[in-house]
Symmetry: C2
Subunit: 455 residues, 2 copies
């Protein structure tokens, strides 16, 4: 252990605490897009009757915001609920570096604070930018094995990032922010085995809950270890690939000169399912739209990935549409049968007999010989849908940059259309306007008021 | 992966759900000792002014019990607070198989439920017996590497065990108990790097908080993965040594025929510091009591352990008495200087200059040639204090079975004396009486009433 690595945790905390809210301004536009997309996804999640169970569970414990409700909750349970509904449909944004969902963790933690105290729009956005930055850098510091082993980055990295975001929002001094990191490090958890169940969105909510709790406990004066990222017993070693030669550079290098939100940015979803299936969806839809085949003419479908490129897609023969959110086979089947990528087709209802039969004809393949596009998103990823028709024809389509990802972004109109589709009538324009004015030094009370609209 | 291992999670849940409350009766006596010891340790913890910060933080969010207070909190924050004060002084019980503290996690989770709903004494004790059983078996299933790597067993295993205990108390059916396990598995966390700070007791509180939350969310109908212990991505693989040949036997074998509380039982502490230093304390005290030397005659002190036997004792040159709770050197120095093992000497105050000088003369050694006693507690553990005096004499004392551990238990009088020392005036006899009557089928309202005494 070098002298430098001993101080990794302290160095990161210092650089966060010393970052001026104004320094984060270049990333504000993306932060606002993220906020609106999160609010849309969350409002649509909240509209699913199944999420009422959690609403009943959390409400009445305090005054903090519960999205789309006049009721309130404690700061912790507000964050849990708003994180849960934000991720319920897996319709919220993704950051590739994180290999997970930043906004549905960070914004619920921040909104829990904001709904209880006056905060300026500038500091609110800055806290988000810093949270996203920390989440992306910690993802790189953990290394790829973290997700591959079975951890759920949104949850594990989310608790640390949301603690830092909430801590920054609360303007904790360096000592307290160090304690917040230690308290958050005590709670790093979340596993991929819960994917395909509503515990996945719960895990996003837990990360927000624990993050805001860590920041508030640190503000209240609670202490913790100050070296939790460092050495052979720190969280990088326990959960990831350990502290390496380049860890310091990954965590601290070029801080403030290139925000993650400006470089890689956010991936906004067009479809309500796991982004890992986005490539497949684009290709299946493109193939169907050629009109060159009828679904019943298909003998076999091969879905081709680079090795590990389908890790998030854990269901091969989904029993419900909900499981289908994590099924390459199901997403392909929907597209190739000319069905729509609507919520209706990804609900807890059983998969139809016709689709179940079709699924039996779909298989996955891994190809190490395909050279991924330079611009591929995520880097090195592609997916190819290859149809073997009964008459001997072979049709295929390959996607390297799925629609909605930073390399193929939604237009402003498409983003607003998604917000319109997601929110109760009349809310979307109000939200868009309130978020636009967030750059000012005024507080967020008008936004919070809209978010409490109960319809 | 064999067919058997695929169903590990389900098998464990089934056996828990089908356990009758009466079947656990052989372990009730130890469960009651554990309850009284926990309540004493917690009341003494609550009396430390530093813990008021957390009391202020949690109070007012609901009606669940906050020990020693007329105020209430949400079920989650009640469990957090009662777990925190229970472990604040590290004065609460230990189970060797767990290599951690069962009662300060399990009882806070159970009391949070009990203070909100009527429950019989029998089911309350049974839930505790089952929680302790699950915690010990999961510790063995995780394997020794889990703690050695840097995880904090009390916290990591505690969340799973308290979810099962609370779920059993709530009489969840098999499906819901499976969901509770999945939701708990989403929250397995806690690190040893936070030892020596108040985040250690916080981690115990977090485990109770998350466990009760997992059980209540499952009761509310929230779902999760049903194979979270199984396979290469389950928590045994992610946090421990993975699913092995003998994992099924470890988790399920002889269930109900030999409860952990009847076989290994609980270790009740005589001293308010980490049990890992108990051997050292006994030997240091014995040596001092011989009267064969004066502290200033000591030239060097060697503390001899088996390799790894001092893993919990992370501070070698503690700066405060609080850090001294995890310092073999400090515990030895206190005893060899004829000072008392009182709370006063393990407070956040700085270590005196005189003791700091003494600490420089203390060193650790590891000896693989010593044959541990057959009856050693924990198995394979010993500690030897060897004094090198300025006049050339060498004095030594070795401890294999520390006072308070199951092989050298406190008497009923010593246990009651500890309760008297810990509780406000007049409370101890009331508590002892209320706990004695717990075997009945009446609810726990009289116990809860005593616990709300605000002094």
């Amino acid at each position: 252990m070098t002298m430098e690595s001993v101080k990794l945790t302290e160095s990161l905390i210092k650089i966060i605490a010393e970052t001026g809210a104004g320094d984060t301004k270049p990333a504000f536009a993306m932060a606002k897009q993220g906020l609106l997309d999160y609010l849309g996804a969350a409002w649509k999640g909240k509209a699913q009757p199944e999420t009422d169970r959690l609403l009943r569970y959390v409400s009445g414990s305090g005054q903090a915001l519960l999205l789309g409700s006049k009721q309130g909750a404690s700061a912790e349970l507000s964050a849990l609920y708003n994180g849960y509904v934000g991720h319920y449909l897996d319709y919220d944004d993704v950051n590739q570096t994180v290999r997970g969902h930043p906004s549905t963790v960070l914004y619920p933690a921040l909104l829990a604070v904001v709904s209880l105290r006056p905060v300026t729009g500038r500091r609110f956005l800055a806290a988000y930018v810093i949270g996203a930055e920390v989440m992306a850098r910690l993802a790189q510091a953990m290394g790829k094995q973290h997700y591959r082993k079975g951890f759920h980055n949104t949850a594990t990295l989310g608790v640390l990032a949301s603690a830092m975001a909430a801590g920054y929002l609360l303007q904790l001094d360096t000592g307290r922010l160090l304690n917040a990191m230690g308290i958050a490090a005590a709670q790093v958890s979340g596993i991929r085995l819960n994917f395909g169940t509503e515990c996945k969105p719960l895990q996003a909510g837990f990360a927000a809950q624990k993050g805001v709790q860590a920041a508030l406990l640190a503000e209240a004066g609670m202490a913790a270890g100050h070296t939790v990222l460092d050495g052979s017993q720190g969280i990088l070693a326990l959960y990831g690939e350990g502290v390496r030669e380049d860890t310091r550079e990954i965590l601290l290098g070029k801080w403030g000169r290139s925000w993650e939100l400006c470089s890689r940015g956010l991936w906004f979803k067009l479809y309500p399912f796991c982004s890992g299936a986005g490539h497949i969806a684009d290709s299946a839809r493109q193939l169907y739209q050629t009109g060159n085949f009828l679904p019943e003419e298909i003998q076999k479908v091969a879905l081709v990935f680079p090795p590990g490129g389908d890790a998030a897609l854990i269901h091969r023969q989904p029993v419900t549409g909900e499981e289908g959110r994590f099924s390459a086979e199901y997403v392909a089947a929907i597209g190739l049968n000319g069905l729509a990528y609507t919520l209706e087709n990804f609900s807890p209802k059983p998969v139809s007999a016709q689709l179940r039969q079709f699924l039996e004809r779909v298989e996955r393949q891994y190809d190490t010989t395909v050279i991924p596009s330079e611009a591929a998103i995520p880097p090195g990823r592609f997916a190819l849908v290859r149809l073997y028709l009964k008459d001997g024809r072979i049709l295929e389509h390959r996607t390297d940059i799925p629609k909605g990802s930073p390399g193929n972004p939604l237009t402003a109109e498409e983003r607003f259309q998604k917000l319109l589709d997601c929110c109760p009538k009349g809310i979307a324009p109000q939200l868009a306007n309130a978020v636009e004015t967030l750059k000012s030094d005024t507080d967020l009370s008008s936004l919070i008021k809209i978010l409490k609209t109960d319809e």
